[in-house]
C-alpha cells in the first residue's frame, strides 16, 4: 500500500493508472465480470455511461432552458424610483390604475393584460399592524435569515466542487480525490438537515412577524413558492441518493451514473438558489408590478428584475469560495487532531485543496460584486449613492479590512505550504515582495475618503480630506489596490504550484520570459489605467477604465494557468511531503471561514440597508418600529452573534460527521461476565 505522504500526486498517478478503475476489469474472477454479478436481465449490456450522460444533459436542459428563457426574456421596466410621498401613492385604489389614468410615467410595462387582471396594490401596514413579540422583530429575522443563508450557501457550494473532485478522481484514477470528495459530501449532507430547519424557522419567523409583507410576497410570487418547495423535495432526494450510493455506484458505468446524480444535485441546487435570489432582488428592485405593487407582469418578469442575474453570479461564485473556506476549516481541524502521519498527510492535502478552491473562486468575486453595484447604480442612482457614497460608505472600508484579512490569510497559507517541497527554496525570496505589495495595497484600500472631523480637526488637517492620503480614498486608487492584490495573490498561487516541479520543455526560458513580462505589463497597465483615467479624465473614462484593469488581472490569471499547463508538461516532480507543514499555518485556514462568514453578514447588512425604509423598494413601505438603518456598531454586534452561532453549528456538523466513523469496541469478554 503506497504511503501517500511520500509520493506526490504525479507518481501515484503513474502507478495507479496501470490498474485503472475505469478500464476493463482485470481483477475479476475468471470469466464473469463480477461488477455486474446478478444482472441476469442484461442490464449490463445497456450503455449506462452514455445513458447517464444523456439523462444528465436532459436534466440540465429541462432546468436550464427555463432559466435561460428567463434571462433572455425582455425584462419589465423597473418601477420608478419614487419619493417620500409613497403613502399617497399607495392610496391609489385598483380602479384608478387603469391604462387610461396611469400616467405615461411607467413606460413599457407588459400592460397588455393590465386592464384585464384584477390589480391589487401592495398593502400598507402601519406601525400598529406589525406583531410584537417583545424583541426586535428585525433582529430575530436577521439572525435566522443569515444562518439560513450561511448553511444554504454551504450546501449548495460543496456539491459543486465535490462533483469536480470526484470527476478528477475518475480521470486520474487517483483514489485520494475519490476519498476527499466523499468526505466533503458527508459534511454537506449532514449540514443539509440544518439548512432545511433554518429555512422552516425563517419562514415561520417571517410569517409571524411580517404577515402583511409575506402576504404580499406570496401574492406576487404565487405558485413559484410551490415550485421552490417541490425543488426542495427533489434536492433532498438527489442529495441523499448521491451521498448514500457512493460506494454502491463505485466503478465503471455505475460511477458515471453517480456523477450524473452529482450533476443533478448541482442543477437543482442552482435552481433553488436563483429562485430565492429573486425574492431578495424583488425587494430591492421590483419588476413585473406597477408603481403601487399590483402584479402586472408574468412570473418571468417578476423573477428577472434588473439585479437578479448580477446577484445570481455574485452568490454563485461567493458560495464556492465560502464552501471551500468552511471545508478548509474542517481539514485544518482534523489535521491538528491527527494521530498518524498518514492522517496528517491526508488532511494537509485536503486543506490545501480547500484553500485552493476558496482563493481561486475568490479572485473573480470583486468583479462580480462590482457588476452588482453597477446594476444597482443603473437601476437607481439614489440607491447606489446610499450604498457607496452615503450612509453606508464606511461599510465598504470594513469590507476592505475583511478582504484584506482573507487575502493575507490565503497567501500566508500558501507561503507556509512552500515548506512542503524542497524545490520551493527558489521562490521563497519573492514572498517578501508579494507581502509588501499586499500590505501596501490593503492600506490604500482601507483609506477612507470622507472623514467625520470636528472643526478643530478640519483646521489641523487643512480641509475635509488629507492632502496626500485623501487621494487614496476614492475608487481609482482602490481599484488599483484590489487588482494588484488579486494579481499578486495569483502569483503566490503560481509559485506554490511551481514549487515542486522542474520544467523540462525546450522553450522554458521563453515561456518564463513571457510570463514575467505579462505580470510586469499587467501591473503597469492596472496602475496606468487607475492613475491616468482615474484622476485625469472625465467620469465616463474613469469608470470604464476599471474594466481595463479587470481585463488585465484576468489576463494574468488565464495566461498563467495556460502557460504553466504547457510549460510543465512532463515536468520532473520534486519530492514533496504532505503533512510537513506548521500547525500555525492551519490557523490561516480558520481565519478564512471566520472572515468570510463575517463578510457575508456585512454584505447582507448592506443589501438590506440600501432598501432604507422600504420592504419592497418604492412599493411597500416599512412602517415597523425597526424601519431605520442600524448603525454599523450595532450591525457589527449582530454579525458577530450570527458568526459565533454559525461557528458553533458548523463545529457540531463537523463533529457529527466524524462521529459516524467511530465504532465503539465491544466490551472485553475473557471468561468474565459482560460488564454493564
Amino acid at each position: 500500500m503506497m504511503k501517500s505522504r511520500e509520493l506526490p500526486a504525479g507518481e501515484i498517478n503513474k502507478m495507479i493508472r496501470v490498474s485503472s478503475i475505469s478500464g476493463p476489469s482485470s481483477s475479476t474472477a475468471k470469466g464473469r465480470d463480477i461488477r455486474f454479478a446478478g444482472s441476469r436481465f442484461g442490464w449490463h449490456k445497456l450503455p449506462w455511461k452514455k445513458l447517464s450522460l444523456h439523462v444528465g444533459l436532459v436534466a440540465i436542459l429541462m432546468l436550464a432552458i427555463p432559466l435561460f428563457v428567463a434571462i433572455s426574456e425582455p425584462g419589465s421596466t423597473p418601477v420608478l424610483a419614487s419619493s417620500d410621498w409613497s403613502g399617497v401613492t399607495q392610496a391609489v385604489a385598483a380602479e384608478a390604475v387603469t391604462p387610461a389614468a396611469t400616467p405615461a410615467a411607467t413606460t413599457d410595462t407588459a400592460a397588455g393584460d393590465a386592464a384585464s387582471k384584477e390589480l391589487i396594490p401592495a398593502p400598507q401596514p402601519e406601525a400598529k399592524d406589525y406583531p410584537n413579540i417583545g424583541v426586535s422583530s428585525r433582529s430575530v429575522v436577521w439572525i435566522v435569515a443569515q444562518l439560513h443563508l450561511y448553511f444554504g450557501a454551504f450546501v449548495l457550494a460543496v456539491p459543486i466542487f465535490v462533483l469536480l473532485i470526484e470527476w478528477i478522481g475518475v480521470k486520474t484514477g487517483d483514489s485520494r480525490y475519490e476519498a476527499m470528495a466523499h468526505e466533503f459530501m458527508k459534511i454537506s449532507a449532514t449540514a443539509y438537515a440544518i439548512t432545511s430547519l433554518l429555512g422552516g424557522t425563517l419562514a415561520f419567523a417571517l410569517f409571524l412577524l411580517y404577515p402583511d409583507f409575506m402576504g404580499y410576497m406570496m401574492r406576487v410570487f404565487g405558485s413559484q413558492t410551490l415550485v421552490y418547495a417541490a425543488l426542495f423535495f427533489s434536492e433532498s432526494i438527489v442529495v441523499y441518493l448521491y451521498y448514500y450510493s457512493w460506494d454502491a455506484l463505485r466503478y465503471g458505468n455505475a460511477k458515471w451514473a453517480h456523477l450524473t446524480l452529482g450533476l443533478l444535485v448541482n442543477v437543482v441546487g442552482l435552481t433553488l438558489m436563483v429562485m430565492s435570489n429573486a425574492w431578495a432582488t424583488f425587494m430591492m428592485a421590483p419588476s413585473g408590478v406597477n408603481e403601487v405593487g399590483a402584479v402586472t407582469g408574468n412570473i418571468w418578469q417578476i423573477l428577472k428584475g434588473p439585479l437578479w442575474n448580477a446577484l445570481n453570479l455574485h452568490r454563485f461564485i461567493a458560495n464556492i469560495a465560502f464552501g471551500g473556506a468552511v471545508v478548509g476549516a474542517y481539514a485544518a481541524y482534523r489535521f491538528l487532531s491527527s494521530k498518524t502521519p498518514e492522517e496528517k498527510a491526508h488532511y494537509d492535502w485536503m486543506g490545501y485543496t480547500a484553500n485552493f478552491i476558496a482563493i481561486l473562486s475568490f479572485l473573480p468575486l470583486p468583479f462580480a460584486g462590482y457588476y452588482l453595484m453597477a446594476e444597482v447604480y443603473a437601476y437607481s442612482q439614489t440607491m447606489g449613492i446610499t450604498a457607496m457614497g452615503g450612509i453606508l460608505a464606511w461599510l465598504f472600508i470594513v469590507q476592505a479590512v475583511l478582504i484584506g484579512a482573507i487575502l493575507l490569510a490565503g497567501n500566508y497559507y500558501l507561503w507556509s505550504g512552500m515548506s512542503r517541497t524542497e524545490g520551493s527554496e527558489r521562490y521563497q525570496g519573492y514572498i517578501k515582495y508579494i507581502a509588501f505589495v499586499l500590505v501596501t495595497s490593503f492600506l490604500v484600500w482601507i483609506t477612507p475618503h470622507t472623514l467625520i472631523l470636528s472643526p478643530a480637526e478640519i483646521r489641523l488637517l487643512g480641509g475635509a480630506n488629507h492632502h496626500i492620503l485623501g487621494v487614496f480614498g476614492i475608487m481609482p486608487a482602490k481599484n488599483i489596490a484590489v487588482n494588484l492584490m488579486l494579481i499578486f495573490t495569483f502569483l503566490s498561487f503560481q509559485l506554490f504550484r511551481r514549487a515542486d516541479k522542474v520544467a523540462v520543455v525546450s522553450w522554458e526560458r521563453a515561456g518564463n520570459a513571457l510570463m514575467v513580462t505579462i505580470y510586469a505589463v499587467a501591473v503597469f497597465n492596472v496602475v496606468f489605467a487607475g492613475v491616468y483615467y482615474g484622476y485625469f479624465t472625465n467620469t465616463l473614462y474613469k469608470v470604464g477604465s476599471s474594466v481595463m484593469q479587470v481585463a488585465s488581472t484576468l489576463t494574468v490569471i488565464i495566461s498563467g494557468i495556460i502557460l504553466d499547463t504547457y510549460l510543465y508538461k512532463g515536468a520532473r516532480i520534486l519530492p514533496s511531503h504532505w503533512g510537513k507543514v506548521t500547525n500555525r499555518s492551519q490557523y490561516a485556514l480558520f481565519a478564512l471561514p471566520v472572515a468570510f462568514t463575517w463578510l457575508m453578514a456585512l454584505m447582507g447588512y448592506v443589501r438590506s440597508s440600501v432598501r432604507t425604509h422600504w420592504h419592497v423598494n418604492n412599493i411597500m413601505r416599512d412602517n415597523s418600529p425597526d424601519n431605520f438603518i442600524p448603525a454599523i456598531g450595532y450591525a457589527g454586534n449582530m454579525m458577530t452573534i450570527v458568526t459565533i452561532l454559525f461557528i458553533a453549528m458548523v463545529l457540531f456538523v463537523f463533529w457529527v460527521s466524524t462521529l459516524s466513523e467511530k465504532k465503539q469496541l465491544p466490551p472485553e469478554s475473557s471468561g468474565q461476565e459482560v460488564g454493564q
Binding site: A520, V521, A522, V547, A551
Partner: protein, 44 residues
C-alpha cells in the same frame, strides 16, 4: 529568431506583451463606447 539568445527572447516577450495589452486597452474601452486615441488618451 534565435531563441537561445536571452536578449532576443526578452525583447520578443516584451514586444508581444505590450502589443497585446495595448490592443486589449483599445478593445475594452471601445466596447464600452469610450474610444481612445493612439496615445491612449480619450477620444471624446
Amino acid at each position: 529568431m534565435n531563441l537561445n539568445n536571452p536578449v532576443v527572447v526578452w525583447l520578443g516577450a516584451i514586444a508581444v506583451t505590450v502589443l497585446f495589452f495595448y490592443g486589449l486597452d483599445h478593445i475594452i474601452m471601445s466596447m464600452q463606447g469610450l474610444p481612445l486615441n493612439m496615445n491612449l488618451t480619450p477620444a471624446q
